[in-house]
Symmetry: C2
């Protein structure tokens, strides 16, 4: 039996396990359910007047031929806006805070076409809208972090099948981001280099885990993947801040995203997935060693007791095999 391999992340110092003895072939991870679309007739995003959505905060295209609209979420996880910045409210030994912020929905026009199936121009628009709303909301005084994400498929938590992304702006820095910022700072203190730049350099040298590359972006299955078929898109040029991308970089990102999602869609037969952007906090500008990126995490495995109890994922496919397989669909 081939032994398992433990691999330690450069930034979080977390361990993952690649369980070679339990290894599966790439096809074994393909989605076994057909993707069933919600009825267009009752989809709130196809019947905006009927469902009484508010006026969009951003719209691309004209009244009739709009291509993208951004709305405040009707059921926000964080109550909208700030009267004053929320303060720490102690409850017994704990700190609490009023959960205020902004929660927006980016609605793509076509009910049936997921990002993997859209032309690069549409994804360029989507990425541009992310950055535009990010820049707008970071000016709100109490926002400390802005998370942008996209859920595809019910098992990835999408409550509607109509393609849509979301943005949540919150007054605290999330734990996973804090750890990445600290880890990036710690790595820089030791190595005098950006940890993410070191990862990118290693992956580009090794080549085995690279899936796609264009002028500004590189897509790879990281050496320390937490999930099977996980992909990350990095800008090759160091930058902590997603929202400062040039138009050329936005276009590169759109092409990289399209290519990665298309490969996933074809290779694993339209699996459920989440993608999200990791970028530096909006207000604290001391994190120059952070390097923004986009992570694509397909729902290929269930986290069971060991993963939930330890934070160590047992992968049954190595990122090398996953990347080789995905590359064949690029």
């Amino acid at each position: 039996m081939r032994p398992s391999e433990l691999r330690q992340d450069l930034i979080s110092l977390d361990w993952v396990v690649i369980a070679m003895g339990r290894a599966k072939r790439p096809h074994a991870f393909a989605s076994s359910f057909p993707f069933v679309h919600d009825a267009k007739e009752t989809c709130p995003f196809d019947n905006l007047e009927k469902f009484g959505n508010e006026k969009p905060v951003l719209q691309y295209g004209g009244k009739a031929d709009w291509t993208l609209k951004v709305f405040p979420n009707k059921y926000p996880a964080f109550m909208s806006g700030f009267a004053d910045c929320p303060v720490m409210l102690p409850k017994g030994p704990y700190n609490t805070m009023e959960g205020r912020g902004f929660h927006e929905v980016f609605v793509l026009r076509d009910h049936y076409k997921q990002p993997a199936e859209l032309p690069v121009a549409r994804l360029h628009e989507l990425v541009h809208a992310y950055a535009e709303r990010f820049r707008m909301l970071k000016e709100e005084g109490c926002v400390n972090y802005i998370s942008i994400f996209h859920n595809h498929g019910r098992s990835a938590g999408a409550s509607l099948t109509h393609p849509h992304s979301q943005l949540i702006a919150i007054p605290v820095i999330p734990p996973d981001i804090s750890r990445s910022l600290e880890g990036s700072d710690r790595f820089f203190a030791g190595e005098r280099k950006c940890a993410h730049c070191t990862m990118i350099e290693y992956e580009r040298k090794e080549k085995s885990r690279i899936i796609f590359e264009n002028s500004s972006m590189v897509v790879f299955a990281p050496f320390v993947s937490r999930s099977a078929f996980e992909m990350r898109i990095f800008p090759k040029e160091h930058s902590p801040h997603f929202e400062t991308m040039s138009d050329r970089e936005e276009r590169s990102l759109a092409e990289a995203l399209k290519t990665a999602l298309h490969a996933l869609n074809k290779g694993l037969k339209n699996p459920a997935y989440n993608y999200f952007i990791h970028t530096a906090p909006t207000r604290d500008h001391s994190h120059g060693y952070y390097h923004w990126h986009l992570e694509i995490v397909p729902k290929t495995q269930v986290w069971a007791g060991f993963e939930i109890g330890t934070g160590i994922e047992i992968s049954t496919i190595g990122p090398e095999s996953a990347a080789k397989f995905l590359r064949s669909f690029v």
Copy 2:
């Protein structure tokens, strides 16, 4: 609309969100699928000879009337045993290590009776077996952490419905445990108290989140719950080490576990869940401020892009409502 509440964990300093504006009633979390048992005829645990399992490393009861058997896992996530302790093998900028350790399966006799349905005496035996195997494996020179867990239901990652727990002994301290140990030390340095003892004291004073209590154990839905209907069982007396429990404490734990799982089973109609034990590392005895406990995490919500991208869970039920509901089934 009721605002959401952000709550910060005492130990990890992680934030969770209780989204009051999206709040659901407890019944909305009930499992919507009937639990379908695997066929007993083809279950490997009911046909041990046929499937050629190895000799048990532990057995309670006689040859014919055995009640519990512990086997090495046939498909281990970590290759069995150590020739020498694994060493760090650098690969480019990364550290790797051979994934060796021990992976065992605790098989309960009855194909159909999950822990929630077993008499306390059977769970006492199970808990006793956990501690016995833990004490045995911690003597193995290269083991640094031992994780004990139980998966129930396919959506919680159980590949067989026959009730069984698992133990994985590994050469590294998992990230979630490292963070809890560091957090416990940090809290003690500031407050001169065990953080977990502070939590227990607060919950017992507040009462609203307590689900069950007996002579040695207390079960509550923590003020900072990461998942809806999450429960934790804590020994009231401070101890970092699970495996040093007295027989009386083992019996108390079995009763608390039975009560908690029974309430979950009745209240949420046999949902999928994971439970696992968090305890101090086996070799490093500097963590006297850690306090072992057992966590029960039902699969009530899907982690989507925001949760995976930030580590902040958006709960749509508060632990107060969850505890009140679960208490009614005790």
